[in-house]
Symmetry: C2
């Protein structure tokens, strides 16, 4: 095959791809905020949520974060995002397997949830990240129906990202976008120590 | 069941969980940088990479980014990360289906790759994000063996994140952690327009 026919083939392939993409862009014309669920056992759920918050504030838009479960560790993301004006609410009791106290965990979750409700009714926020909300719903710290009601009543243009494993089905049902992160391989299981700046 | 027996059960479950987690933490004691591959068709690959960069610089550590394929769009992540001192290299020609010119695409990829090589030999960088590198390898813009060699020779404590679909097998083989993001559902396919601050 001559070099110019290879080039032509490349050009034709990219032209077809462009037509396909342009068609899909033209078809997607409904303007509204969406609910994104990032679930599954693989690494990357919270970082994907925080990456989208970064993207959002990088465009000069406003975002809020509610961080359930985690919270006692020094949080790299929070150090920067709070300075950039991101509204940050953290459960702060640490992992449930550290506290081992259901009453305390429920109370801490409820406190963050009350702040979350305010964010979910604030039209100035383009994006609200509910990091590890799924566990809170699954363990019954907050009623799933109450979460769904707050989500359904949020401002029309507000998007919400929910992260965590094992999302209850009714909450899964109302998500517009669902990404399931499969754990194909994890360095941790080969004996590599979790690292600051990478794993937390 | 009485409330106190429920509490006991909760406490026992969390104690068992803690024992399991503590054991795994004790076993994972090798200290070195890792290669993380974030692949699959679902939404969240690049944002997960950028979220980890944010985490890293949030701890006061240094990171670098090479962004292949994308680059002409206003990039929310870049607006913030460059100001935070992140080393940023962008292909800048835009999508390959827009340029439709293999020679131009290859040249642009090679230019970013030369900068990438420098980052992959800089021990000051805790993390290097190679956003959408998989396409560059797959389309043959850069030789996969050359990429693997540069990765294998990087500083011991440096971690690398590679994002993109369809990663060539030899590059997949050297990854320590692999997350595959499955596209369970996507708002775009229900006609919702891509949004600034969420999708780009």
């Amino acid at each position: 095959m001559t070099s110019s026919s290879t080039d032509d083939k490349y050009k034709q392939r990219m032209q077809r791809k462009k037509e396909h993409i342009d068609k899909k862009i033209a078809e997607a014309n409904e303007e509204r905020g969406i609910i994104i669920l990032i679930t599954g056992n693989g690494k990357g759920k919270s970082t994907s949520g925080f990456g989208t918050v970064l993207r959002c504030v990088g465009h000069g838009l406003k975002a809020g974060v509610a961080q359930f479960i985690k919270g006692k560790w020094d949080c790299g993301e929070r150090n920067i995002l709070e300075k950039l004006g991101v509204d940050f609410h953290v459960m702060g009791t640490g992992f449930t397997w550290d506290t081992q106290n259901k009453e305390l965990d429920t109370q801490a979750a409820q406190e963050v949830w009350q702040e979350t409700r305010k964010m979910l009714s604030n039209p100035e926020l383009t994006l609200v990240l509910l990091d590890e909300l799924t566990y809170i719903a699954r363990y019954g710290y907050i009623d799933t129906d109450e979460i769904i009601e707050a989500l359904n009543n949020r401002p029309k243009m507000q998007s919400v990202i929910i992260t965590g494993r094992g999302c209850p089905q009714p909450l899964t049902d109302i998500a517009d976008t669902i990404s399931e992160i499969k754990d194909v391989r994890h360095a941790y299981n080969s004996g590599v120590k979790a690292q600051k700046g990478i794993d937390w």
